[in-house]
């Protein structure tokens, strides 16, 4: 247990160090700093992967998932996607910002509430559906988080170009059209995942015969969040609204999703915060 604790602390420090190297490279381009950052981040990912495999193989009883494990998985997912994107696209800013979020989650997770549980025991028959729901919603949140970061990057670059304020950092970002495409693609992948996740969640509620829960705030706000993303897609593809306008809407949609997270405490059944 003590050993585990020191391992986690080491993980946080190495993660922080990798982000420092990435930041250093962004501030003053340096191949060495970038390589160090990427190397350390890969090391963090390997450690996280090892931990997850260990938990999977030892934690046979999946009727309870601790919030610690859940957020650990989410952080791992963010790192995985950022590393994959960095491999194929030159998006150092994205890697940095995604991992800031991942790091904050991991640090808060480690030092604040490792023991809270996502209790699935009361969901007898629908427990399998709930695992699918949790997996899908986690993937959706991860991808839509990246979409939100891209939206932020778009608005930053758009503001700079529109305001005719040139800086060296702009050369290191993808082009405006490329970023807009990435935002769209994350929404195109994230929204269906969200739909599937909610559909499975509704199915699990119905299977358990707890249809009254469909009137819960959590369910309502989840659908509102989904609605926002669908409106984004309509505005972009059908109404052909400009990139800045759709990027703002994408950020607003993500804000609704974040608000939806905080609604866990107001929920009758989704309250494990």
């Amino acid at each position: 247990m003590v050993f585990n604790h020191y391992l986690y602390v080491m993980l946080i420090y190495v993660y922080a160090l990798s982000l420092l190297f990435y930041f250093s490279d962004l501030a003053e381009p340096s191949r060495r700093a970038k390589r160090m950052g990427a190397g350390l981040l890969t090391f963090v990912w390997v450690m996280q992967t090892g931990f997850l495999i260990y938990r999977l193989t030892t934690h046979r009883d999946m009727s309870t998932i601790t919030l610690f494990e859940y957020l650990f998985l989410f952080s791992w997912l963010l790192i995985t996607i950022s590393l994959m994107m960095n491999r194929f696209f030159r998006v150092e800013f994205l890697v940095f910002f995604v991992n800031i979020i991942g790091f904050v989650l991991l640090a808060v997770n480690l030092f604040s509430r490792p023991s809270a549980e996502i209790g699935l025991q009361s969901w007898g028959q629908a427990i399998g559906l709930l695992y699918i729901h949790i997996t899908l919603i986690t993937c959706a949140y991860a991808i839509l988080t990246i979409g939100a970061i891209f939206s932020g990057m778009y608005l930053f670059l758009h503001g700079k170009l529109k305001g005719r304020k040139w800086s060296a950092s702009m050369r290191r970002m993808p082009s405006l059209e490329s970023i807009e495409r990435y935002v769209y693609r994350t929404a195109l992948i994230g929204a269906p995942l969200l739909i599937l996740s909610l559909a499975v969640a509704v199915a699990s509620i119905i299977v358990e015969g707890k249809s009254a829960l469909l009137l819960d705030w959590k369910v309502f706000s989840s659908f509102v969040g989904l609605g926002f993303y669908l409106v984004y897609l309509v505005r972009r593809n059908v109404l052909r609204h400009g990139g800045a306008s759709t990027a703002k809407w994408n950020l607003a949609s993500f804000a609704v999703l974040l608000f939806n997270l905080f609604l866990n405490s107001a929920s009758q059944f989704h309250n494990w915060t």
Binding site: P29, R31, L157, L161, K162, R164, W166, S167, A168, M170, R171, M173, P174, S175, L176, E177, S178, R236, R240, H241, G242, G243, A244, S245
Partner: protein
């Protein structure tokens, strides 16, 4: 031996002077041969570009070497030295090495960080090497300078940022669109700058170029250069929505395009961004166009601001390269100091090898019954003893070559190992080889001249 550089460049002389000191490419081999035969010069490289003419030389003494090089220039260009001496600069040793490295890295160029000079220096060196005008020093120095320059360009961003208005426009376009495939460029007017910008965009993959001009014939003329489509101004307004990039540079007093026209075009563009560049003074494009959503409007001041910002960046990167140059200069100095010990080490190794051979021969005579395998083992082991014994002295003498009292240390080394005679023999052998090579070259030249004379005679004789 000393390294010197004598030359003139765009900083020290105007083009009217520089153009009198150009070397035509076909003349360079002859120039190198003539320069090599000049008094005091042991190695030479001539760097001749549109912005500089420089003669790099290794000389045996630095008194009068400048005079000899100026004499060569007088004879070659047929101009009295009073006409060009004031434009010449001359650097020696460390300063010359530093100058070469700065030039190769592009730090001395008109556009700081340009990469063309690297290829020019490399070509100049390779030609000199081919003409056997270079030796140990320049073979090492120029290779080091070229390698350093390649490293400087790859490890810093000195060559990345655009430092001309037209390239700044291309760089901005890349920030908006990423790449120019399937993009349409519209040029309004016939300004040189807009033509150059369109040329860069077309070279970077722009698919279609629409050329608009008050005079249709002029539009046709310009459109031909890009396989483009000439348009009148009325057609241009009608087809404004097709353009992704609009470059305007007319001589018009008023605005050529107004906000309302662009707004209407944007409604037909389905949210695709529009990049507009106004290079004209007074401006062609209504500044209120910048408020239209999806439009990015830049004028000449904005582009020049980007160029200035990029130049600042290049200067900052240049500071990093200066540090790399200092490190390389130090490495060259260290290598140069070890040059003197190489003949000593070679002599010692030759002497040791000779003693080893004599000993093995003596062993074979005294023990004739030894078989092949046994002889092989003994030879290998005795060779190992010799190498191990020599290892430390060789390492130590290399270290001592960099010391203050290097000369005394090397003298002591020669005395300790009794290398006076082997060294003298080696020097004599080298001199004989040089004389033989010079004689052979003379013979081949005479033969070539004889053949040319015979061919000329054959051409004349029916």
């Amino acid at each position: 031996m000393h390294i010197v550089v004598v030359g003139l460049n765009y900083k020290t002389s105007p083009v009217e002077v520089r153009e009198k000191f150009t070397f035509a490419e076909r003349e360079l081999p002859q120039a190198l041969r003539q320069l090599k035969q000049t008094n005091s010069i042991m190695e030479c490289v001539i760097v001749a570009t549109c912005n500089r003419t420089e003669i790099y030389a290794v000389v045996d003494r630095h008194q009068l070497c400048g005079h000899h090089i100026r004499t060569f220039m007088e004879q070659w260009f047929g101009l009295p030295r009073e006409q060009f001496t004031s434009h010449l600069y001359m650097y020696e040793d460390d300063r010359a090495i530093e100058h070469l490295m700065r030039v190769t890295c592009g730090l001395d160029s008109m556009i700081i960080g340009e990469t063309q000079i690297l290829g020019q220096i490399r070509d100049a060196f390779l030609l000199a090497q081919q003409e056997k005008a270079t030796g140990t020093l320049f073979n090492m120095l120029f290779k080091q300078a070229v390698t350093l320059a390649k490293r400087a360009h790859s490890e810093t961003s000195i060559g990345e940022a655009a430092v001309s208005v037209s390239y700044a426009a291309v760089e901005l376009g890349k920030r908006i669109f990423g790449q120019f495939h399937q993009k349409t460029v519209m040029i309004i007017g016939a300004g040189k700058m807009s033509e150059l910008t369109a040329k860069h965009l077309y070279a970077n993959g722009a698919e279609q170029v629409l050329v608009v001009n008050r005079t249709y014939d002029r539009a046709v003329q310009l459109a031909d250069k890009f396989n483009g489509v000439p348009l009148s101004m009325e057609d241009a307004v009608r087809r404004l929505h097709e353009a992704d990039i609009i470059i305007s540079s007319t001589g018009s007093d008023g605005y050529v395009l107004r906000r309302a026209q662009v707004q209407e075009a944007m409604q037909r563009r389905s949210s695709r961004p529009l990049f507009m560049i106004d290079i004209a003074v007074p401006r062609d494009l209504d500044p209120n166009i910048a408020d239209v959503e999806g439009v990015f409007l830049y004028d000449i001041d904005d582009l020049e601001g980007i160029v200035e910002s990029n130049l600042e960046l290049r200067r900052a990167e240049a500071a990093k390269i200066e540090t790399m140059i200092l490190i390389e200069m130090d490495a060259f100095r260290q290598w140069y100091k070890t040059l003197g010990v190489i003949p000593l080490i070679r002599s010692l190794q030759t002497k040791a090898a000779a003693i080893h051979e004599d000993t093995m021969e003596s062993l074979t005579n005294k023990l004739p019954d030894l078989d092949e395998r046994e002889l092989k083992v003994i030879r290998k082991l005795t060779k190992s003893i010799v190498n191990q014994l020599l290892q430390d002295p060789i390492l130590r003498v290399k270290e001592m070559a960099g010391d203050k009292h290097a000369a005394q240390s090397m003298d002591m080394f020669v005395k300790l190992f009794a290398l006076e005679e082997p060294l003298a023999q080696a020097a004599a052998a080298e001199r004989a080889a040089e004389l033989e090579a010079a004689a052979e070259l003379k013979r081949l030249k005479a033969q070539a001249q004889g053949n040319a004379g015979t061919a000329g005679l054959a051409a004349v004789t029916p």
